[in-house]
């Protein structure tokens, strides 16, 4: 048994109590969260959580990477985006304060030079990814980081660097050059 707090569609808030020590929170009779003090499931279990998540990639447009310059990567397609408009102009500006797991990658077909990708926070490098070297099959640099965002002004972008001696170009494709993120927990 479980005590219930139900926000009913017809009768307002309905409270049903028992002596189990457990509490369920319902909306329209559907349980959205349960709170348990003891046992293996102690804690709060959330039935569903509409956490912001996104996955963007380069589909038809590439990014030119000038020699020895940190260049912002732009995206023109998404696998999914549940952020409700937090991702615009290849920039993620979450409106919910908390911790976000961000990952990205850049791929080029370059045969020379060193390459790496950076997660930028508020216009400066926050975490640096793998440094790779151009070769016969090109190269791909990956980066991943847990980033705190304040839910208002903080924003995330993906940048890349290369030093081949000439301008290089990223490769298009959902598995090649991409940026993903998901809300992990609140502040």
């Amino acid at each position: 048994m479980t005590s219930l707090i139900n926000a009913s569609n017809s009768a307002g808030v309905i409270i049903t109590s028992d002596t189990s020590g457990n509490l369920a929170i319902q909306s329209g009779g559907n349980t959205v969260a349960t709170i348990t003090a003891t046992g293996a499931n102690a804690g709060i279990q959330v039935a569903s959580w509409a956490a912001p998540a996104f996955s963007y990639y380069q589909n038809g447009s590439t990014t030119s990477l000038p020699n020895v310059s940190f260049t912002k990567i732009t995206f023109d397609a998404s696998d999914f985006d549940t952020t409700g408009g937090m991702f615009t102009s290849s920039r993620f500006t979450p409106t919910i304060a908390g911790y976000y797991q961000i990952s990205g990658a850049i791929l080029t077909s370059a045969t020379s030079g060193q390459y790496f990708s950076d997660i930028y926070k508020n216009g400066t490098a926050f975490k640096r990814g793998s440094m790779v070297v151009g070769g016969t099959s090109g190269c791909q640099s990956n980066v991943s980081a847990l980033v705190y965002c304040n839910g208002s002004s903080d924003y995330i972008e993906l940048y890349a660097y290369q030093n081949s001696g000439s301008t290089q170009t990223t490769a298009t494709g959902t598995s090649f050059t991409y940026l993903q993120g998901v809300f992990v927990r609140s502040a």
Binding site: V68, S69, F70, T71, K72, N163
Partner: protein
């Protein structure tokens, strides 16, 4: 931008602009091109806009 700076300061190398370098060039893909985001070289002064504009 890199080519212009190298012409002003031929003693600089790509390493000065690398992951451990003291100079950081950045391009925000906003159509404005490269710019100097950081200049922490111990002896050389950051080039002025006039110097950069004067380099062919």
């Amino acid at each position: 931008m890199y080519e212009k700076i190298i012409k002003i300061y031929p003693e600089l190398t790509a390493e000065d602009f690398g992951r451990f370098g003291t100079i950081l060039l950045q391009n925000d893909s906003d159509g404005k091109g490269d710019y100097i985001a950081k200049w922490e070289h111990p002896t050389l002064a950051k080039p002025t806009q006039e110097q950069l504009a004067g380099v062919q």
